[in-house]
């Protein structure tokens, strides 16, 4: 018998030297990998910071706008020609004339049609209805003189922000010299203020940038997502449970599985075309309604929910199923009592991801007509509506300077909505996790 070590491929001394050498090489490659990882993280953080800085620097100013404070005499006869203080009567009153007179008074009663037109260009075209609404909300001020804030026209707002330069020749800018002089006069009287926009959250779609808001789109998004969640979550979970726990493993289920996975990669616009073809053309549902939008988004979200739910179900240890079956639980009892509860957090994660996708989806909603110009706030799933991302898409398309800020402001609202939704789901998930672990 010989010592096997002597016959080994290397002597221990030689092996030690080579190991030392390889150690250095290994340490180097590990360090390199670490640096690469850190570099990747730094880069992505940098991009995120740039993204957020860009959005917030544009969007925060978009949440504010300029107002002119005017002393208004709410003359009873002119405001309320019928004399019954009904909304119809107030809307038929001469609010426009009252606002214009107040403005002229504030500007020292300019003479001439041209000057008057220049003065009127300062105020938003929605000022008259703002006064009417003020009167409806505060009927006790009728007959008195009150200070009311009116939004300035979007061009004036851009001028006040410095986006329209004084130095530009008059023919090249959207605000003429006369108007600028009037604005300066109002500024000297400190009648112009820069405040949080009350149109952003209460207004709906409008061609006038200064009074455009996201209320309608936000409510539309909530309706659409509500429909989407109600359809996609139960359907997705049920599909995942069936495929994972009940269905026999054969060719048929294999084909279904492959198709579900492929469906997750189908461009969303395709779902929109399908929604148009099936729900609107075949089933005859109206266009632009959250019901159709929600169904289409649900179909788009389903694969995501199914795939993640299946992964969550597969992660439930088989020993738990054995334990339940071993004490005599039926298959359904095992699934309902012991598989779904511990898998629920994972299923919720998939649902959050799916809903976040659905929230930001524009293309399928364009296909089913949710891009329409809808001023009313939708009161249900059968009323025409638009959605936040579609609203953003439309605003981004408008030419007025002020819409750029409004667009960024709307993006911030969309992000905030998304974060709130995700936070809610994460809290729910943590709660469920604590209960079952």
């Amino acid at each position: 018998m010989t010592n096997p070590i002597e016959n080994g491929p290397l002597s221990p001394q030689e092996a030690a030297i080579r190991v030392q050498a390889s150690l250095k090489k290994r340490a180097r490659s590990e360090r390199r990998f670490q640096y690469l990882g850190i570099a990747a993280i730094t880069l992505s953080i940098l991009f995120l910071v740039l993204l957020f800085a860009g959005i917030f620097s544009k969007g925060i100013p978009g949440m504010f706008q300029h107002y002119v404070t005017l002393e208004v005499l709410l003359d009873k006869d002119r405001m309320d020609p019928e004399g019954d203080m009904s909304a119809a009567s107030l809307y038929s009153g001469d609010a426009r004339g009252i606002v214009n007179e107040s403005l002229m008074n504030a500007l020292g009663s300019p003479e001439g049609r041209k000057a008057k037109r220049a003065a009127r260009a300062i105020l938003s075209s929605a000022s008259a209805s703002r006064l009417t609404e003020f009167a409806i909300k505060n009927p006790e001020y009728i007959g008195e003189i009150v200070a009311v804030k009116f939004a300035v026209d979007d061009d004036i707002d851009s001028f006040l922000r410095g986006f329209i330069a004084r130095e530009t020749p008059e023919s090249d800018r959207r605000v003429n010299d006369q108007t600028i002089e009037f604005v300066d006069r109002l500024n000297q009287a400190s009648l112009i203020s820069y405040e949080f926009s009350d149109y952003l959250f209460t207004g709906s779609a409008s061609r006038d940038a200064e009074i455009a808001g996201i209320k309608g789109a936000l409510i539309g998004s909530i309706w659409t997502l509500g429909v989407c969640l109600l359809i996609a979550f139960p359907l997705g979970v049920a599909t995942a449970v069936y495929l994972e726990e009940i269905a026999p493993k054969n060719r048929m289920t294999e084909i279904i599985e492959i198709n579900i996975n492929n469906l997750a990669a189908v461009p969303s616009v395709v779902f929109g075309i399908m929604g148009l073809a099936i729900f609107i053309i075949v089933f005859g549902l109206p266009r632009s309604i959250p019901l159709v939008g929600g169904i289409v988004l649900a179909l788009m979200t389903l694969p995501t929910i199914i795939i993640s739910s299946r992964a969550a179900i597969r992660a439930v240890p088989p020993s738990i199923r054995d334990a339940a079956l071993g004490v005599g639980a039926s298959k359904m009892q095992t699934i309902l009592h012991h598989v779904i509860p511990p898998a629920m957090p994972g299923m919720l994660t998939g649902t959050i991801i799916g809903m976040a996708q659905a929230l930001g989806e524009t293309a399928p909603l364009l296909m089913i007509g949710m891009v329409a110009f809808i001023v009313d706030v939708p009161g249900g799933v059968m009323e025409p509506a638009t959605a936040l991302p579609v609203q953003i898409f439309m605003w981004a398309d408008f030419a007025e300077r002020m819409f750029i800020q409004k667009t960024s402001a709307a993006i911030i609202v969309l992000l905030a909505f998304l974060i709130t939704m995700n936070a809610g789901a994460i809290i729910l998930r943590k709660k469920l996790e604590r209960r079952w672990q």
Binding site: P248, K249, P317, S319, I320, R321, D322, A323, A324, L325, G326, V327, G328, A329, S330, Q333, H337, H338, P342, W436, Q437
Partner: protein, 280 residues
């Protein structure tokens, strides 16, 4: 003897001839479980090969044998746990108290209430200790009201020797217990539905020696009321807890007999080689 240990031919048990006939007494006077000509296939692979065996009432029978000999597969036939494996197929007849367990009229759920099972790895539900025990009685409707349910839980835990250790923390998760306690919790859970037979699939293989001793003690306690079939890899454990021992080899039941006789005077050569530690 020493020469045989070093002789590779003696160690390679795959080459040995496995007899068709089981050695020893396979029938008992008062059987609870009877298996007749049982074959079990995984797809095309024969895992249990023509096994005929009786398990008497109130006895502890140990299944021993090298890995892959089919002892766990046979055990899982007794409460039809193999149904959960798609490719698994059983032939032959198994009766419990004279009822065919594969009779389509018998609901597998009621069979599993009669034949409880304890698994290799402790697998308490991720629920409270109380709910772990109460789950079985609840789904089978064993308790008329919550008072009775409390009683069942207490008696089951007592029977598993766990009551004094956990009575103050019944609302805590079952997974917070130590490994040995978890396994006894699983035994208590099996006991709670009032079974006649308890199947144990290597119940101590994941436990330390002290926890093992406790579980073995518990088995000796439980033998008074239940028929126990235990699969084990530990010869000492089989010797300590069982009345009869069955030795399996390559899917066949080679020898069965009184534990004392198997361990002192094995008849078959394979049995002798296995229990003396020559292979396996």
């Amino acid at each position: 003897m020493v020469d045989k240990l070093t002789d590779p031919k003696e160690v390679d048990f795959q080459d040995r001839e496995v007899p068709d006939e089981t050695v020893g007494e396979i029938y008992v006077d008062n059987p609870r479980l009877t298996a007749r000509n049982v074959n079990v296939y995984y797809a095309d692979k024969l895992a249990v090969d023509n096994v005929t065996l009786d398990v008497g009432s109130s006895e502890v029978i140990a299944f021993v044998g090298p890995s892959g000999c089919g002892k766990s597969t046979l055990l899982r036939c007794f409460n039809r746990m193999n149904d959960t494996i798609d490719i698994c197929r059983m032939e032959g007849v198994i009766n419990i108290d004279g009822d065919d367990i594969n009779d389509p009229k018998i609901d597998v759920v009621s069979l599993r209430a009669r034949v409880g099972m304890v698994f290799q790895k402790p697998n308490p539900f991720p629920k409270s200790i109380f709910d772990n025990i109460a789950y079985g009685p609840r789904i089978h409707g064993l308790a008329k009201d919550s008072v009775e349910l409390d009683e069942i839980v207490e008696r089951s835990l007592e029977r598993a020797g766990l009551w004094s250790e956990v009575k103050d923390r019944l609302d805590q998760p079952g997974t917070s217990l130590s490994g040995g306690q978890q396994q006894r919790l699983c035994i208590a859970r099996a006991v709670a539905v009032g079974p006649e037979v308890i199947l144990m699939d290597e119940p101590c293989s994941a436990l330390d020696p002290i926890a093992t001793a406790k579980v073995e003690e518990l088995i000796s306690e439980l033998r008074k009321q239940y028929t126990i079939v235990i699969v084990t890899h530990s010869m000492q454990q089989a010797a300590r807890v069982s009345d009869r021992t069955a030795y399996f080899h390559l899917g066949k039941l080679v020898e069965v007999g009184e534990t004392k006789q198997i361990f002192t005077r094995p008849v078959h050569r394979l049995t002798e080689d296995y229990i003396t530690g020559r292979f396996g």
